[in-house]
Symmetry: C2
Subunit: 321 residues, 2 copies
């Protein structure tokens, strides 16, 4: 039932969509067209949902500020995806050409900057604490991007290093979303910190699942090609675990550490990773991570919003796209 | 006497420098090295100076917030330069290789995003009005970049279109600097608006002079090669005026509108532009622009800060680098 959480806040998500349209417009025709290109392909709005649901689950009433913050976070998230796609040479996103492929790298850099500024603009009318938490996430994203670069094609990455990278890359912006929602609701610091701790686990689990989809995903569902992480030399958890397989590990290592693996080699490695059972183990690790963290939610009183929050986090680690 | 304004606020500029170092550090070694690379080559700190001097000239006392805002603006300015250099294929800045040449395009994109976030971070603890004015400038920069792209190699650009481009590209961030300084000092709205109007003229004049330096600048002083605007097909005021010359215009047009002019052709065009007297006319236009706007400063009471503010704006339009 991936729809439960969405139904619970359908009104708010419609308002987020409206803000995404109105707040990213530009008087420059081409820039305006580019931002519409980005927001016409409806994303899953996971971050705005986290923000709004944590606001409501913490007893927040008038959700206008949480909706605005959610939209701002979604805009900043998309700005970072645009620049990430340039950096990773990504060609497909949400089933369509990436922005820099559809337009040009230089235009996509500027469009990303423009969206970053628009996102901060919405947040700017909020409290310094809100701005601070989003900026911390943005810095974390940049730093993890560097960390990821520094271990490119490396076969010696530890699980700890991997966890540090995905925390900055993915979990921090989700933690910021929840932190902002809870803060706007005036949540008790203990409640706030518990929600953020829970979301750290969910965010990391989300990225682990994302990394398994690069091995076994259905391109038609995910909207992007599989095997890209291997091709680009990004050490992900499925790879880190599979490398330890005594029989298949050496061949996986060989291909992964070679400077320009062929598509055939990458496909072979994907099959080998699956054979080691690494994908299943990743799913178990992700599930356990969220299960172990679920006690953090005890601080929340029972409510439809708490249920929806739980449903959303379950969806995040059980998705196939 | 380019030093007068700098001496008047030397203490504040030292504090700006300290903030630039402390606020742009990262625990990631390479990212940290890159930000130091950017801020080790001391820029002229024109924008922080505008912010601090307008604060002081408006009667502001405790300059800490103006110093912090000035540093934030300088960080955001440098972030935009990093991305601009990628977009323009710039190889030299301040006498050194541009960041993306020294490292890589992908790393420079992320470093720019990181700095943008750090800049907003400092501003976030300020008022929504401050954030708003900087975001407006950042959006203006992005939009003018698109406008500039759309007239690449065009020989039909009007002076009005050129003025619109340089307003977004250069004047708006300077206007934001002054606006923030005046706001932090609690200036009367009339005083605030007058200072901003004055700075619009100074900012545009500054860019006009910058564009003449691309024609006649001394690469050793400016730290960048000459002729880049022609090479990249950017219609600047010297070019727009020179094209109207009945004798030399046709050849200038021919080279400028050709898809990939040779370096020889570009050098020939630079000489032709000088021969038309366009560079002198640009300097006159820039001077007149500032002279015509100087009455806006009547709203300020006489003070050493007002004198320094005037000296700074004079320096901005009389510089040779």
């Amino acid at each position: 039932m991936p729809g439960l959480w969405r139904r619970t806040i359908s009104k708010e998500l419609t308002e987020v969509d409206a803000l995404l349209r109105t707040q990213t417009g530009s008087s420059n025709e081409e820039l305006d067209e580019m931002t519409r290109y980005v927001f016409d392909t409806h994303g899953k709005h996971i971050r705005p949902s986290l923000c709004i649901l944590s606001f409501l689950a913490c007893g927040g009433k008038d959700s206008r500020d949480a909706v605005a913050a959610g939209a701002a976070i979604e805009i900043i998230h998309n700005a970072s995806l645009i620049h990430d796609d340039i950096n990773d040479g990504g060609t497909m996103r949400r089933g369509r050409r990436t922005l820099h492929k559809e337009y040009s790298i230089t235009k996509a850099i500027v469009a990303g900057d423009f969206l970053l500024a628009q996102g901060f603009s919405i947040l700017g009318s909020s409290s310094p604490a809100v701005v601070d938490s989003i900026v911390k996430a943005a810095s974390g994203m940049a730093e993890s991007e560097f960390m990821q670069d520094s271990v490119e094609r490396s076969v010696d990455v530890s699980e700890d290093e991997y966890m540090e990278i995905i925390t900055g890359k993915t979990a921090m912006l989700m933690m910021a979303s929840v932190s902002i929602g809870a803060s706007l609701a005036g949540a008790d610091p203990k409640v706030h910190d518990s929600l953020v701790a829970y979301t750290e686990a969910v965010g990391k689990a989300f990225q682990i699942i994302d990394d398994t989809l690069d091995v076994v995903g259905n391109a038609e569902l995910t909207g992007k090609r599989v095997g890209l992480d291997i091709l680009e030399g990004k050490p992900t958890l499925p790879l880190i675990l599979a490398i330890r397989d005594p029989k298949r590990g050496p061949r996986i290592k060989e291909v992964f550490s070679s400077p320009e693996p062929s598509m055939e080699d990458v496909c072979e490695v994907l099959a080998l990773i699956v054979e080691t059972g690494a994908v299943e183990r990743c799913k178990e690790i992700a599930s356990k991570m969220v299960d172990d963290a679920v006690h953090y939610l005890d601080v929340l009183e029972a409510s439809a919003y708490k249920d929806a929050f739980l449903a959303l986090s379950r969806h995040m680690v059980e998705r196939d796209r």
